[in-house]
Amino acid sequence: MAMPRYDKLVFEIGAPGRVGYSLPASDVPVEDPRAGIPDSYLRREAPALPEVSEFDVVRHYSRLSQLNYGVDTHFYPLGSCTMKYNPKLNETMARLPGFARLHPLTPPASAQGALGLMHDLAQMLGEIAGMDAVSLQPAAGAQGELAGVLMIRAFHRANGEKRTKVLVPDSAHGTNPASTALAGYQVVQLKSLANGDVDLADLEAHLAPDVAAFMITQPNTLGLFEQRILEITDLCHARGVQVYMDGANLNAILGITRPGDLGFDVCHFNLHKTFTTPHGGGGPGAGPVGVKSHLEPFLPAPVVVRRGEAYALDWKRPKSIGKLQAFWGNFGMLVRAYTYIRTMGPDGLREVSENAVLNANYIMARLAKDYDVAAPGPCMHECVLSARKQKKLGVTAMDIAKRLLDLGFYAPSTYFPLIVEEALMIEPTETESKETLDAFCDAMIQIAREAEQSPAVIHEAPVTTSVRRLDQTRAAREPDLRWAPRR
């Protein structure tokens, strides 16, 4: 008989009646719940909880942890996500009892250290982005976008202007139109040029009096710096249109240029990308949003302020768009980002971007012979390839992504941006060594050869992972989202 499969759901291991605890006999009278709880709230059957021993639980979760795949174990070139190494010092600082054990409702007088950290982090982010004020509340990039667009809306309203539309390029990340629509605006999609740049003539034609904002990503989602950005922001401002920068790609420009200097009115930061807080399952996100002074009155309340020597939460902000998050944001993430910025310092942050750009260009140069590049480089912190050549041989971007898993690498982003056919978006980040980049490029080149000579090995991939190719179509058509008790 084989060992139990500890990688099944915890509900599916164990045995009926097995328990992993023993409680002492009750030393208080045991009440019948029916005496105190109305009948309609009583359940008829016991809940279907897992029936496992402590040892089962340990084996189960140890096994799951071995199946984990992350930056701590593998190269993770997921484009647009900046999967860089997250220094362990961040974790140590976030676990300092003075931070970790602080109750969010501690009176400000007893939480000066935490408030001071938030105040200083907001200032540092403002300086990095050239913004006048920063709110740390949003819990992700997408929520930062929502906050930014709501502030723009409040600004226009305060000026007695009724503007109903927001322009978003077709190269944008899906969160841009989504947060815009959620803020009550009509989204107007603009066609980008082939290299992902804004088509200025087309933009100008769309800048009607009912347009509230233009939202773009800089560098754009093809990993290229929008060269005519100053013309773009000037053009928008001349028509009373606010310009929002999606800061997902900030890792390309730290210490080199600043959104505020490029004319942007608002931008968000993804602390879980650029500023080394965990990304994905490792922890909640954080998407602070920065604004120029004309938008400051509309920041989410409360704002951390400094009054003399003391820090306080300022709630008296009549024009605020309101509170966005439970308490004051994902505070543990703020401690990590603060730690990172302080350890790197201004010169270190500039080097981050220089090396991120260098690494991406190295990959682009090594792969340009075997894959089509989406737009001629040099690129910024990420490069976008197209597998259109391989597709003619029956090998898609998705196939290449699966084959990479077999060769020991996480896959790049695929099929984003949407304007690139068979897109493979590769963001190596600055924290990878040349040996890793070379090994990755070797794997990509090997796959290009396989596409020509032995495509079957690509179509079968992955074979080395714990599960083979998943049926994503069936998963989307017949989602099976939770375990249902067997009756």
Binding site: G174, R388, Y415, L418, E421, Q472, T473, A476, R477
Partner: protein
């Protein structure tokens, strides 16, 4: 090359339109379904809704992307292909047949003349596409 029936008219957003005795049947083209990949969800209006030319009437979602569906002509939606709710893959398998989406009773039938013919659509694909 591509599968573009001659008797239909087309939009630049890759919808097709078919004359059926004054009413217009609408779906997405073979090219569109191929670009989208496996369709997993189709959201359509209810019969009786108004469609406006060049405006979204529904949404199609695939494993790769979510896209609006644009009405080729204005008018009242008189029929809706409810079968797509249970079997969205029909859009991939039979985009010009069982994968149709809505039927419009046009309020401005002349809008038909502004749609692309099969050869114009083919040319449009050749210019813009791979």
């Amino acid at each position: 090359m591509a599968n573009i029936p001659a008797e239909l008219r087309y939009t630049k957003d890759h919808e097709w339109a078919k004359q059926e005795g004054g009413r217009i049947r609408v779906g997405i083209t073979h090219f569109a379904q191929e670009q989208l990949g496996d369709v997993v969800f189709v959201e359509l209006p209810k019969a009786g809704a108004r469609a406006t030319a060049k405006k979204a009437f529904g949404v199609v979602e695939s494993v790769k992307a979510v896209s609006d569906l644009f009405a080729p002509l204005s008018g009242e939606v008189v029929e809706v292909n409810d079968a797509l709710a249970k079997a969205p893959e029909t859009v991939n398998g039979d985009p010009y047949g069982k994968g149709w989406m809505i039927v419009i009773a046009p309020s401005a039938p002349r809008e038909w003349d502004g749609l692309l013919t099969a050869s114009q659509y083919e040319e449009f694909l050749a210019q813009s596409g791979p």
